[in-house]
Structure formats: structure tokens, C-alpha cells
Symmetry: C2
Subunit: 309 residues, 2 copies
């Protein structure tokens, strides 16, 4: 029987582990599909506090994992496939077949950006292709960038990027944005922003770094290449929560619902949620870490109040 | 006219600065009374994610400041003494006499633990004397510790410390705790915990590290020395918000009130709060940093929505 089981090993899961270990909860972390989480897919991180020089995402996550190991965090390199949060102790079934019982669970499974699915896009990730303007916009001072998407996030990112970029082209596959009209109007009034409708990206151009994007008009079939040094894919995120359906309250997009003032408190006492699986507003490495620490603190208090520790 | 003014340079203020700089907001940080904040008063930090080996508090804060400077954050080494948030642009008067106008303000002035006020206590801080069981309890495995205080926090910390310490003595100056009765009962049932009533600490004993505490009975005047290797002072915290009275909504303890779901949103549009000046629940370095990043993100959105950037 585990006292404190953490599902996921990105910033949220590892920081939850670090805090839980230092609270004497002897946590076990299920590493998941992508040990280290989304940050392992990025290159330079320069907004994680405490690092005067940019740090590689993979390096930061290796450091966090080592920190956890040093403090006694245990890891199982497997994937949570099914949970039963309807009876206590909770149970989690792993892809490898084993079943783990736990008194408290911290869900920190993260989210994944949706990508276009192009080989060239994948090859150039971190080399001009990004899914986070807040994280990477700063790297595109004086450059031309292209944003793909038609929702609020796409237009917000486009406006944000005009602070750095010389020009921002927003490419949408339909003839009209889904975004709220005020946002469309605002982006439309920004002289740095232009809209390209009815187009999809066929290929990201460039060998070592992004040099442009080849677009195809879905109505006419016409193909054009647009020069740019940055491509921001803003077509949404997918929280890794499908295995939780029916077990935890989720919102319509699949994010775990947490209590407004509780930050990490789910609808099931003893189950806590931290990081991008519950947060679609901030999605930062440092915020995920902080939610992980909060979840461990709350789990410790809950276990203590219930007399489990 | 500043676009984004940050008051305070602890984890929250510096991370707000880092994020604001990377969002093109060209922030100015007012360093305050204690540049680097509370962490500069501690020794080893082993729960800040990303550091496999313990890092010195001062060193971590120096790193964060350098990171901010590299990204273009400007600093003024002065203290905010008075604010006017009742009209926009906001204004902040510094102890040095100058006045700064700003379109958005992030308050990150932190809090200070209340101390007993003994010279020996100050000399042994970080050498056995602590004000945070969550942070430092782990360092007292198998040791005897003493907690001073009579409220909920004191008894919570005492219970928490029993996971590591061999024994925990709770010293209170009155004959009865202020803490909730359930907590008193729980602590009373814990075999590792004993209560010492009607006593105050006269001196912390030990040259290089804590070796004990000399207590005086306030009723009888009798003096006794209690051996211990750790002293946790749990008599409360004081948010550094007195200069904000009448300008921002504060709770009865002086913490800045933030909207439940907004985390960093105060009652005054354009003024945001981050870290221990608004958070009395978690008070961690990483949570303060995260709230700082959130405040910068929200400030950026607000400035953009208002057409200021």
C-alpha cells in the first residue's frame, strides 16, 4: 500500500515528489509516457527562476528527477491506464499489468500541445517551431513569424508576438475565426498582424531552422510559400486525462476540475491534481512545479487529518 | 511613466520581473528593505525544484536577480513607502523621496516570520533555529526539537515534525492553546509531543548550533533548560503590507485579498499581488515564484486589453 502515489513525472509530478518526500510521505512516482514531461521536448528555457543562463529543458528535468531521487522518491517506469477513485484505498492499474493501492493520489499527467502532424514540424521543434508564445516569443525579436490557429489562444498569441516580431501572419484553415469578436477586431487593428484564411500548412521549410511555411488554400488548391523564422502552432492542448473519465470531475475540454480556492483540490477527497492536467491558464514550468508542491502539502495535511500518517 | 512596476525582490518579485521582461513590459523592480527576500535569511534550500544538491538561499536569489538583469529587468534600490492606487496611472512614493508613476503594479512585498527577539535566536538562525517546519523539518531526523507558539500553526508544525524528530516539545506562554480543539487533542494524543505551558524562551543555547533553550515560567519565575537540536518559532507571520492600508483590500491579518479563481488579482484592476504578501497557506519559494509569473502574465493581459501596450 502506497501512502502517496504521484501519476506523472513532469515539473508538477517531480516537485510533488520532492515535497512529499521531504514531508515523510515516501512517495512513489509513476513516470508515464514521457518521463520529464513537456519540458523535455523543448530546447532552451530561460524563464524558470534560478537559472541566470538558459537551461536545456531536458537538463532541468534531469536535475529535478535527481533531486527527487536524492530525497528518496521512488519511481516506476510505467503508465497509469486505469484508476479506481470510487473506493478507498484508491487503486491504479498500470500498462505493465500491475495494480497499485494508495491512500492519497496526486494526478500530474500534464497536457500535450496539439501539433499539425507534419514531419518537418517535428524536426524543427525548438528550432523555430513552438507551441507557446509566452515561453518563446522573446526569441523572435525583429523576426517574421507565423501563427496557426483560429481560436482565442491563436489571436492572443499573435497580439503578444507583435511585441517582439516584425510581422505576424495568422493562418486559419477556415474563412472566419472561432475567436471572440473583440479579439478578432483587436488583432485586425494591429498593423503588424495580417490574416491568411482558408489555408493549411503543408510543410515547414528550412534545414536547421525555420525559413518559411508552405501553405495550401483549401478552397482553390493554390500553394504559396510564406517566409518566416518562427512558427507558432496554436491549435489547442489536450490534457492527458482520458483514463480518468468517470473517476474525477473534468471540464468539457478534459481538464481536471479543481476547487477555486483550493488550487489542487479535486472533487474526490484524497485525490489532488497539479500542473497542466488541471491548469489551462498559465501552463508554465514554474506554475506546474508550484501546483505540485501545493498538492503534496495538501495531501500531507489530508493524510494526517485522516490519521493515515 | 513605468509600464509595469514590481514592488519587492524576493522570489515573487524577481520571477514577476523575469516574466514581465520576457513579455516586453520593460519592468522596474523596487528592491525593498531586504533585497532577495526571506530566502536570503536561510541557509540550505533543498526543495526548490531544479537543484539536485542543496543550494544556499542567498545564492538562489542572486541567480534569480542575475537572470532578471540579463533579460533587461531594471532595479531601483529603494523602499516603497506610500502608494496611490485610487487613480490611474498609479503612483508609488519611495523612501528616497522620488515618486514613480506606473500603468500596472505587481505587489510582491512578502512577509516576515515573527521572531522572539533574542540575540541568540538571531545568531542561530539556519543553524537549528527555523520558522518553517515544511522547509526545514526534514533536517531534524531523529533529533529533539522544540516548537514555540500556541496557535494552529504551532500545533500543525509540531505534528508534522513528529515524522522526523524523536520528540517535540511545544512551549506556550499561556496555560491554554489558542489552536482549535481538534488540533490540540490530536497533538495531545501523539506520544512524541509534550506540552510546556506558561513558559517563555529566555535564551537559545549553543555556540555553533542549537543545543537547547532556557525557559522561564511566567507564573512561578522558575527557570529550566530544555535540550534540543532544533527550535521552531511558530508565533505567526507579518505581511509587509502596512503601507497599502486604504489602498488595497486586505484581510484582518494584513494579507492582500486576491480573487479566489484569480490567484493574483486584487480588488483594484491593474494592481496584482504575488507571493507571501497575499498567500498565508503555502509560503514556499516555488509557490511565490509561480504567483510572480502569474501576476506578470495577468498584468500583461490587462495592459494589452486596456490598450496600454
Amino acid at each position: 500500500m502506497e501512502r502517496c502515489l504521484v501519476i506523472g513525472s513532469g515539473c508538477a509530478g517531480l516537485t510533488a515528489g520532492i515535497y512529499a518526500a521531504r514531508s515523510g510521505l515516501d512517495p512513489l512516482i509513476i513516470s508515464g509516457l514521457l518521463p520529464g514531461g513537456q519540458l523535455t521536448m523543448t530546447t532552451e528555457v530561460e524563464n524558470f527562476p534560478g537559472f541566470p543562463s538558459p537551461v536545456q529543458g531536458q537538463q532541468l528535468m534531469d536535475a529535478m528527477r535527481k533531486q527527487g531521487e536524492r530525497l528518496g522518491v521512488r519511481f516506476v517506469n510505467d503508465l497509469a491506464e486505469e484508476v479506481n477513485f470510487k473506493k478507498h484505498p484508491f487503486s491504479v492499474r498500470l500498462a505493465g499489468g500491475s495494480e497499485i493501492a494508495a491512500q492519497a493520489v496526486i494526478v500530474a499527467t500534464g497536457a500535450a500541445a496539439r501539433w499539425l502532424g507534419l514531419g518537418s514540424e517535428q524536426r524543427l521543434r525548438g528550432k523555430g517551431v513552438s507551441a507557446c508564445a509566452t515561453c518563446d516569443g522573446f526569441f523572435f525579436k525583429g523576426k517574421d513569424v507565423l501563427v496557426i490557429g483560429g481560436g482565442d489562444t491563436a489571436l492572443e498569441e499573435a497580439c503578444f508576438l507583435t511585441k517582439f516580431a516584425s510581422s505576424v501572419a495568422v493562418v486559419h484553415r477556415r474563412g472566419k475565426f472561432r475567436a471572440t469578436s473583440a479579439l478578432v477586431e483587436k488583432a485586425g487593428q494591429n498593423k503588424k498582424i495580417r490574416f491568411i484564411f482558408d489555408c493549411v500548412a503543408e510543410e515547414v521549410l528550412g534545414r536547421e531552422t525555420v525559413e518559411g511555411v508552405r501553405l495550401k488554400n483549401v478552397a482553390s488548391g493554390a500553394v504559396q510559400s510564406v517566409k518566416c523564422e518562427g512558427l507558432f502552432v496554436a491549435i489547442g492542448h489536450e490534457p492527458a486525462t482520458s483514463f480518468l473519465k468517470g473517476q474525477l470531475a473534468l471540464d468539457e475540454q478534459g481538464y481536471i476540475l479543481v476547487k477555486p480556492a483550493g488550487f489542487v483540490v479535486t472533487d474526490t477527497p484524497g485525490v489532488f491534481a497539479a500542473g497542466d492536467c488541471a491548469d489551462h491558464r498559465y501552463r508554465q514550468a514554474v506554475t506546474a512545479s508550484a501546483f505540485g508542491s501545493m498538492a503534496a502539502i495538501e495531501a500531507g495535511k489530508w493524510l494526517e487529518n485522516k490519521g493515515f500518517v
